[in-house]
Structures are given as C-alpha cells and as structure tokens.
C-alpha cells in the first residue's frame, strides 16, 4: 500500500520539556488515520509539525514520498488540506469570498458550488462567517480545506466543542470524504469519533506512541471483558446471588440499584443469568450489555482515562 505519510523518530522539545518523544507513524493512501490521546499528549504538536507549522527537533518526515526538510514545499502544500483546531477566517469576507480567496492560492481547485455542496452550506454562500453556527463554521473550515481538492486532509479535533447534531454532520462528511478516496489524518480525544471514523488508530500518551492498530483489533487486544448490568425484582437474597456467582464462576458487583458481572463470553453468561432468574422466580429488569471501547483500551494501555 502506498504510504502518504512516513514519520520516523520524530521529536519535539520545548526547552527541557519533550512534547513528542520519538514517534513513528505510517499513514496509507485512502485511510482515515486517527491520532487518539488525551489533552497534552502531543497530538496537535505532531500534527502541526506535519502541517509545517512547527519545527521538529529531530526525526524524518516523508509526505507523498518526498522528505520534508525545513518548510513544507509549495508542491506538497498543493496536495494537502488543513482543518485547524480553531479556525478563524479573514474578517469581513462572505463565505463565497473566503472560498474564492483560498481557491486562488492553489494551482488546482474545485468550484465554490461543489465545495459548499459537499459541506451542505450552499444556502450560506453570501453569509458572513460570524453569522454561522459553530457547526456551520466548522463545515466552512472543512470546505476551505477541500477547495484545492487535496489528496491528504489534516483535521485537528474537528468536532471539539460542537453539539451532537453538528458532530454527526461532520462525521458523515468525513465518511463521504473517505469514500471519495481521500486520506485523512484525524486527531481526536473522542473515542466514539475514532471508533466510528478511523481505519487505524495510533494511541499517543505523554508524547509516545502506545499502540497502533485498527479500532476493532485494539479493542479485541486491549479492551478487556464485556459487562452485563442487570436489576432483579424482587431483590434476591444474598445466598441466591452467591449461587449465581458460583454458576458464573465470577464475582457479581453490587452497584447502586443494579448488579454488574464481567465476562469474556457474553452469550453464555446471559444464558446462565436467565436460567438462574427462572429457577429462582426473579424477574430480570434493565439488562444492559457493555462492550469494551477505546476508552477501556486507553485505560488498560496507559493506566489512566482518556479525558484525564
């Protein structure tokens, strides 16, 4: 598979503090590559080095097979689109004018109409960005990033601070870009975002790559066991609960108003619980299955939570 980005032993120091500690990354053509980590993990620093906004202390970066030495050359800039964490547009310009302006910076560009259609902002063509909602502004930022029809798009936490509806619309947009064959480098600290959008994920913590794999493999390898939460009516006596524990060969955790059992085999465990409830004339209420997530992966890999 063709490598779009190849990073080796990338380091970035600020004085005595090393924000990025020798990381290796490979991003392949057409994939959505997720860079997942808590705030301050080194995600944005790494991304900005790749975008040409920060100087690496050491390490090598190749983009489209070209080694980046110093500033990113215009030929590479022609092929990339960037969505910054906080985008501000030039003041007093309308949506259409902003896109026209950015289109003029590149040799190749798509039409303004097409860009607006992709981000579903056609009706806002003559609006000023300050009159757009947060989600619309972010979609405009994406339209600006797409105006040169880039092969590679960098997105730095594109849904941070957005409401669920706006977030969903950005996710749909990213999925659309992926289906159009674009390579996307996405940083996020939202596990559900990474899980839904990314083909492969690199988990970064304290400036170091902890693990890289597909979300499914990461969960399988490091997510741990599934959980079943359930409540019973009437509340069974302690000896009956102990009976179930013996049956399941595991500990039942009593939480506020329900019980939790951790299991490797969800189906078999559920069957045993149902049988136990019938045998003891207990009704099962509020049964929930909790699958392991990237949050669990992160917790298991780093010993701390993603939003720490």
């Amino acid at each position: 598979m063709e490598k779009v980005i190849e990073v080796r032993d990338l380091r970035k120091k600020y004085g005595n503090f090393e924000a990025v500690k020798g990381i290796d990354i490979d991003v392949f053509k057409g994939e959505v590559f997720g860079f997942l980590g808590p705030n301050g993990a080194g995600k944005t620093t790494t991304l900005e080095i790749l975008e040409g906004l920060r100087k690496p202390t050491s390490g090598t970066i190749k983009m489209f097979g070209e080694e980046i030495k110093g500033d990113v050359i215009p030929e590479i800039k022609e092929r990339i689109g960037v969505v910054l964490q906080q985008t501000s547009f030039l003041d007093h310009l309308k949506v259409k004018e902003i896109l026209e302006l950015f289109a003029s910076f590149f040799k190749k560009s798509i039409s303004i109409e097409k860009a607006l259609e992709m981000v579903e902002l056609k009706e806002k063509v003559n609006a000023y960005p300050e009159n757009l909602s947060g989600g619309q502004r972010q979609r405009l930022a994406i339209a600006v990033a797409l105006i040169n029809d880039p092969d590679l798009i960098f997105m730095d936490e594109p849904t941070t601070g957005l409401d669920p509806q706006s977030r969903e619309s950005i996710w749909v947009l990213v999925e659309k870009l992926k289906s159009n064959g674009k390579t996307i480098f996405l940083t996020t600290h939202y596990m559900e975002e990474a899980q839904r959008l990314c083909d492969r994920i690199t988990i970064i913590d304290h400036g170091k790559v902890v693990e890289t794999d597909s979300p499914e493999h990461l969960i399988l390898k490091y997510g741990g066991e599934s959980k079943i939460d359930f409540s019973c009516t009437p509340t069974p006596p302690t000896e009956k609960v102990e009976e179930l524990e013996r049956e399941l060969q595991g500990k039942i955790h009593k939480l506020d108003d329900h019980c939790r059992i951790v299991t490797k085999d969800l189906t078999q465990t559920l069957e045993k619980i149902v049988l136990w409830s019938k045998k003891n004339n207990v009704s099962l209420t509020d049964v929930f299955f909790i699958e392991p997530t990237l949050e669990d992966v992160f917790l298991n890999l780093t010993g701390r939570e993603l939003r720490d």
Binding site: G52, K55, V72, P74, D91, E97, E100, L101, F102, F105
Partner: protein
Amino acid sequence: MKSGNTLLLKSFYMFVRDGKATLMMFVSPLAFMLILGFVIAGISGGTQNVSVRLAFHLSKNLQPFEKALEQEARNAGFSAVFVKDEKTIKRLVSSAKMQMGISLTSTSMTFFYNQAFGQYNNYLRILQKFVSQAVKKRISGIPTYVEAQPVKINRGVNLTVISFIVPGAMAIAILTACVLSTATAFSNYRSNNTLKRLKVTPLSGNTFAFSIAVHRFWSSVVSSILTILAAEAIFSTIYSINWLLLLLITSTAAIMSIGLGTIFSVVFRDMWTTLNFSTILLTVMMLFSNVFYPFSIMPNYMRIIAHTMPVTYFTQGLRYALGISPMYMSEFLLVNAIFAFAGVMLVIIGGRIMFYFERR
C-alpha cells in the same frame, strides 16, 4: 499572480467593510487636524497681520542708498530701522524688538534672526523678496550676489500658527493611522490563527503583507489630500501647494509607516503589546520632533533626537510641499527615496518573518 489579484480585491472588501479601519485611515487625520486646528486657532487668536520690522546696517559706501531702502520697505508694508553697527542689530533682534536684521556691504549680506522666533523662515523669504526688489529697482552698483528669487507670499502676510501646525498634525495622524492600522491588522490575524491558516497554503507572506498594505496606502494618501483641503477651507491657511511633491511625500511616508507597522506586529507578537509600543513611540515622535515647534526653538539635545525621527522628515517634506518651509529639492528627493525604500523593505521583511514565525 492569480492569488495576488484575488487577495488584492478581497483585502479591498475587507478594508472598506471594516468600519474601524476606514475610520482610522480616513477620519482620524481629519479629526486630529480639526481638533488641533481649533485648539491652536483658539490659543493664537486666529490669523493676524504681523508687523515686520527690519534693522539695517549699511556699510559706508552703501549709506547713500539708505533712503531708497527705507522707501522700498515702506512700500512693502515693513518698517526699516537703520543702525550704526551689527552689534545693535544683534541686540534689537535678540530682544525681539526687530524680527530680522541685515548687514549689507558691497561684497556681503548678513542676516540676523532670533532662533526663538518660530516663523523666521517666512521672514527670510519676505526679506529676500524685499531686498531683491530694492536691489533691482533702486540700488545700482551693488554686485549681483543678491539672488532675486520670486517667492509667492503676500505683502503683510497672514502668518498663522495653524499653517505651521497643520502639516505636523497631518504627518503624525497619517503615521499613526498607517502604523496602528497595519500593526493591529497583522497582530489580529496572528492571534486569531488566520496567519497560521494561510501559512499552510502556498501563499507567500510578502503577497499577503502587500495586499493588506496597499489599501492602507492609498487611503492615507487620499486622507492627507482631504485634510489639506479641509485645513485650507476651515482655517484659511495660505499654502502654495505643489501637489506633485505633496503626493510624493505623502505616498512615501505612508509606505514607510506601513512598513513600521508591519515590523512592530512581527516583533511584538501580541496585539496589545504592539498597540502599546506603537502608541508610546508615536507620542515620543510627536513630542520630540518638529511637528509642533520648529527646530529653531529646540534645545540642542532635542534637535539631535528630532533628527532621528522619521516624522521630522515627513513633516519637513510636507511643509516644503505646502510652500511654507525651505528645503533643498535634492534633500526632499533623498528623504522620499529613503522612505519608499525603507517602507518596501520593511513590508517585505515583515511579511516573510511573519509567516516564518508561524512555524515555531
């Protein structure tokens, strides 16, 4: 080229739609001049006819022409007093009893003037005209070392402080508008990440810097012309305007000011620091230059400081273009060349560094 043209057009929209920027560029020089003008006019009591008194000392061989000179002076609306020696002239001029003194021999002419008297340049011109005419008409036998140059100035001329102040006020207002407007624009673009966003495109820093500078440039030139016309209409200033020179000095000074603004925004990356520094520097420039008072009344140390201030040369050039202050044409052109070169270089360097600093 495509990006340059589009950026120029879009930055024009940005400029004209930005009320604060247009207000700063167009209205502030006018407002500054008007406020200052009314204050100065109030203090100085408006325009007034100044009685010009000249003290003459003639060498022995020229004394027969005393009456002729006296008559000529009277005809010109001045009073001439003839004294026995140069020492008396010095005493009369230093005590401000006479505005000017002239010691005339058949081989030399010495002018005496009081440095504390701000408008001496005008008197020099009046004097030159008067003496030249006298020489032409009445005095024979004096060699032609007295050069007769026509000076457009009225008899019993209206010498007003406001005429002197307006160019200074205009210079400081244009400088302030260009420096602050440019510096705040670039600082703002940096703080809201616009520069960062532009840095990741193939656009060059210079192209961006020039597109922002261009609209500040033309607006300051237009604004300065409006200010002069308003000053003439409202305060009856009497200028002998050389429009070409006025356009030249305003344009080059605007370029230089924009260059300064660009550099300030690069050096002081934070907008408030940029603004504070620019304001302090402009205030210092205003006070330690010839904006409000001529060199002649400055103490020596202040003259040295004044000569390091760009606004001094801008004001001097403006006064020259308005016909109220002498300056060698070569000096005027040199000042303009330096302003234009320095301004363009500062914008180029500033534009490059501005984008360079976005890669930390």
